[in-house]
Amino acid sequence: MSETKKTDAGASVPRQASAPEDREVLLRVEGLTKHFPIKKGILQRQVAAVKAVDGIDFEVRKGETLGVVGESGCGKSTMGRVITRLQDPTGGSIHFEGRDITRLSTAKMRPLRRDIQMIFQDPYGSLNPRHTIGSIVSAPFRLQGVEPEGGVKKEVQRLLELVGLSPEHYNRYPHEFSGGQRQRIGIARALALKPKLVVADEPVSALDVSIQAQVVNLMDDLQQELGLTYVIIAHDLSVVRHVSDRVAVMYLGKMVELADSTKLYETPMHPYTKALMSAVPVPDPNRRGAKSDRILLKGDVPSPIKPPSGCRFHTRCWKATQVCKTTEPLLLELRPGQRVACHHPEGAPDQAPQDVVLLSAAREAAELVPDEVTDKAPAEPVATGSDKAPAEPAAAEEAAVTEEPAAEKAGSASDSAAAEADRQESTDQ
């Protein structure tokens, strides 16, 4: 309903109205870790731990949408549950509106629950089948002891209308609704207490495409209307690009890249991001010829119980050298608005230029990487940014990959020139 109402008004979303850097930080996460112990024997001694989230830092600014992407098992959902304190972190800190909420007790956390809400993936599992919609959506008021203006029932009906359902649905049960409608109920419940931060874990992945678009538009409208801040966790990179202002890419419990959405999708710097982007099928038959851009990653994601040393991606990366195996790269802002944790990033000065000998695994991985990718600018795999590709000598990059020190330097020199030009551009704006 609401999307038909609004299609004209919000034809283009004025998302980047104010520069995101100026906005106030709502949530700050530092060094966050969450390990799940593996216990064995009668004594239940801890023998190992699943390092689901293993030291991540980021902040969420007021009014923005932060998208979190990654493959299954990279820890993105755990991260979502930890920042909402549904699970206790193992280490690190979480600050909400400047206040440390890392170790707050359940009782102290309760008033804050109003401000931090969650939307879940499974619209079938997240609604109690024995409760009516009215009682599900009014639960937050009951639990928080809030008496909204005009009474609970009136407010719930207003919320149902807000998310595009009919107020008459008040007395119905969840099974009477379709998947898309149930997701709307979940959204109504999350919005009941006017939260400041909404963490949505795969909010649309269980829905059909046409319904998915309805829910994405609804969340967009609600953000405009209520000034919400979203953290949207999803594995669908197209959806995340559509909704996010900034995007974080996770791999095996680490954040490997965090950047403005456009920058990340057009010029990804981390090899993993690049591989991930290139794997997304594009609904355009004309791009079939361009399939050679695709980077096939070798094998599967390693186990989070024993993550690889150094950079966790080094076992599958085609650029990995000795330093990647030994030293963990830090998440550094190598370009304005683009933070990346990589020793050999794309389109930026090499962080370890002296280290040029590829690991043997990397050489094997490089065979799966088409030449077009290694010698073209990083903009290529996502197609749109081809005109923005930094003008760098194609041959130099390719040579760099086939381990020639001189060419490597030439490559990084031109890279740094490109980065410099970028910086210039952004200061001009």
Binding site: E71, V209, S238, V243, P283, R287, R288
Partner: protein, 364 residues
């Protein structure tokens, strides 16, 4: 009456590589209905298409549009055991000169696995947890080939190697739970292809997988098709996957085909408002984010009370455009346009071209 004309339309139907009579797989006016306590569920209601060897047909549609039921009908899975009593099937399915709807279950069984095989969405539930991967592939092979276990095992290892499983000689003795999702999908593909089937039906084979693994699996299916020259039916809801792998596209809505044609035709000149809706609903990774998505309003139809007339009319923004109440009373038939492009819509060709080029395409 409607069915009759649907059938007659199919008879003279030319296909892009030869005539319909030569096509390897021909489905004509297929209907699969399930009687339930609530009423008759018309999952598939008059579907006609054909497919040649070496080509890939993508079947697209929302959940409940009848995609999976169609594929199960071709495989003869609706007639197994007690399930057979609860289904009403009619129409024709011709697979290389044999008609399957009227064939005896034993006949179909001989073909299943050998002439036609299927890959399912969820390999964990499609495989038996109690038997090793190798045992399951060996069984599939020995059902159709009179060979010793040793030979069959060697064949299983060969297939596992072919689908890219490392150390196949060792992994052949693993259980399904010891494989990762992508590896299980590979093992299932190995099992489906062990008898060199000429028709491979893949029902959402990559939906449960991560994009990087999905890319690997799609690549594998493409390579294997080239190698074996089989016909592939790819059931999916992801238009990205379709653009990636298909030669032809069939769009299903409410148990019927609303649009069918070669890939480029359907993506570049889609004729049916539902196809426009699908294209408009998809967020694109290769596009700027400022544009809003154009969703299809409402929800998919109930298959018990399919809307009269065009099943899509309650959700169609252009339902009032054709004169009279025709969209709500008369079911549109598939009509052929240039380029082997079929569509079932009451809108006039001029209206469709105008709406697509002026209203829809610029927003995508």
């Amino acid at each position: 009456m409607t069915e009759l004309s649907n059938t007659s339309a199919a008879v003279g139907e030319p296909t892009s590589a030869g005539t319909a009579s030569e096509a390897f797989l021909r489905v004509r006016d297929l209907k699969v209905h399930f009687p339930t306590d609530d009423g008759l569920v018309k999952s598939v209601d008059g579907l006609t298409f054909s497919l040649e060897k070496g080509r890939t047909l993508a079947v697209v549609g929302e959940s409940g549009s009848g995609k999976s039921v169609t594929s199960q009908a071709i495989m003869g899975l609706h007639r197994l055991g007690t399930r057979g009593k609860n289904v009403q099937m009619s129409g024709e399915i011709w697979l290389g000169g044999k008609e399957l709807v009227s064939a005896a279950p034993d006949e179909v069984r001989k073909l299943r696995g050998r002439e036609m095989a299927m890959i399912f969405q969820d390999p964990l539930s499609a495989m038996h947890p109690y038997y090793t991967i190798g045992n399951q592939i060996v069984e599939a092979y020995r059902v159709h080939h009179k060979v010793s276990k040793k030979v069959a095992r060697a064949r299983a290892i060969e297939m596992l190697d072919r689908v890219g499983i490392p150390e196949p000689g060792k992994r052949v003795d693993s259980y399904p739970h010891e494989f990762s999702g992508g590896m299980r999908q590979r093992a299932m593909i190995a099992m489906a292809l062990v008898n060199n089937p000429e028709l491979l039906i893949a029902d959402e084979p990559t939906t449960a997988l991560d994009v990087t693994v999905q890319a690997q699996i799609l690549d594998l299916i493409r390579d294997l098709q080239k190698e074996f020259g089989s016909a592939v039916i790819m059931i999916t809801h992801d238009l990205g996957v379709v653009a990636e792998i298909a030669d032809d596209v069939l769009v299903m809505y409410g148990g019927r085909c609303v649009e069918r044609g070669p890939l480029a035709e359907v993506f570049e000149k889609p004729q049916h408002p539902y196809t426009w809706g699908l294209l408009g609903s998809m967020p694109r990774i290769d596009r700027e984010t400022s544009e809003r998505l154009i969703p299809v309003k409402g929800s998919p139809p109930s298959l018990i009370n399919v809307p009269s007339g065009c099943a899509f009319n309650p959700r169609c923004p252009y339902a009032d455009l054709p004169k009279g109440n025709v969209t709500r009373t008369v079911r549109p038939e598939l009509e052929l346009a240039d380029g082997g492009h079929w569509s079932a819509c009451h809108l006039s060709t001029e209206d469709r071209t105008r709406i697509w080029t002026e209203e829809i395409a610029p927003k995508l």
